[in-house]
Symmetry: C2
Subunit: 149 residues, 2 copies
């Protein structure tokens, strides 16, 4: 049996929220930790953000809580179209994805596509790139693949 | 600052699915692992299952994939009412909760309730008990608390 992802270690869980300051403050309160910094993802010219194969101006404000092996990511969608905005529009504040660190992005995406798990959004960030694949039909959730340079 | 949960380690991510055999098979295929066994949660007389403070006959079929620190749990709702059935009815196959192992269930539930994160469902299983709290408004997701005997 082949592990398509090359790993079984979940490294991140992502939550889409309408108000990232309020939700981050509540998480910090419950966990008893400092309020983490909130960043905005790069603009499309830098991130080369693509949604359903087309460039998109959509961005997100994001922050992270480090919970052992897993980072909890909060994402507040900015503009559209994006998988982040789709989730907020369709389901309100809610869990969005679980992420795996992978190597060989193109190969992984091709394998997953052949399994009925298509690419929906991708982009670059300093030090690497991400891709969301729509595993809702096959796996019950969106996955994020994270590849470092 | 006090950590209300007493831990910051996420130990489980739960996905609600309509067809647990098909979704478990797809996960096993993607991860390159054996198909795990599927169990059914105990009936209400054993599990003492309560939903919104009232006994409920609802159960779930469940299976687990061990992904490092985190167990990935698939849950197929049986009967109603339950938070599992609410999720499937409202959102289809989707991520449902993230779980933490805690000690002192009653105290934790009281703290969370005071923060606007109320209990929605609880039950017993061999070796421990679980409680789901509705953190959707405050945290963007349902949490599960797991307490071992």
């Amino acid at each position: 049996m082949t592990n398509i992802l090359g790993t079984t270690m979940v490294t991140q869980v992502g939550i889409i929220v309408r108000d990232i300051e309020a939700r981050a403050r509540a998480w910090a309160d419950v966990l008893g930790v400092e309020m983490p910094p909130i960043h905005t993802t790069d603009s499309v010219d830098v991130a080369q953000t693509e949604y359903n194969g087309q460039p998109t101006i959509a961005r997100a404000r994001q922050t992270f809580f480090h919970l052992g092996q897993v980072d909890l990511e909060l994402l507040e969608p900015l503009d559209a179209p994006s998988t982040w905005d789709d989730q907020l529009s369709g389901h309100g504040d809610s869990l969005h994805h679980i992420a795996f660190k992978i190597a060989g992005m193109q190969e992984k995406l091709a394998y997953l596509d052949a399994k009925g798990i298509p690419l929906i959004q991708r982009g670059e960030y300093t030090g690497g790139r991400y891709a969301y694949v729509d595993g809702t039909t096959q796996l019950g959730t969106i996955l994020e693949l994270l590849e470092s340079d």
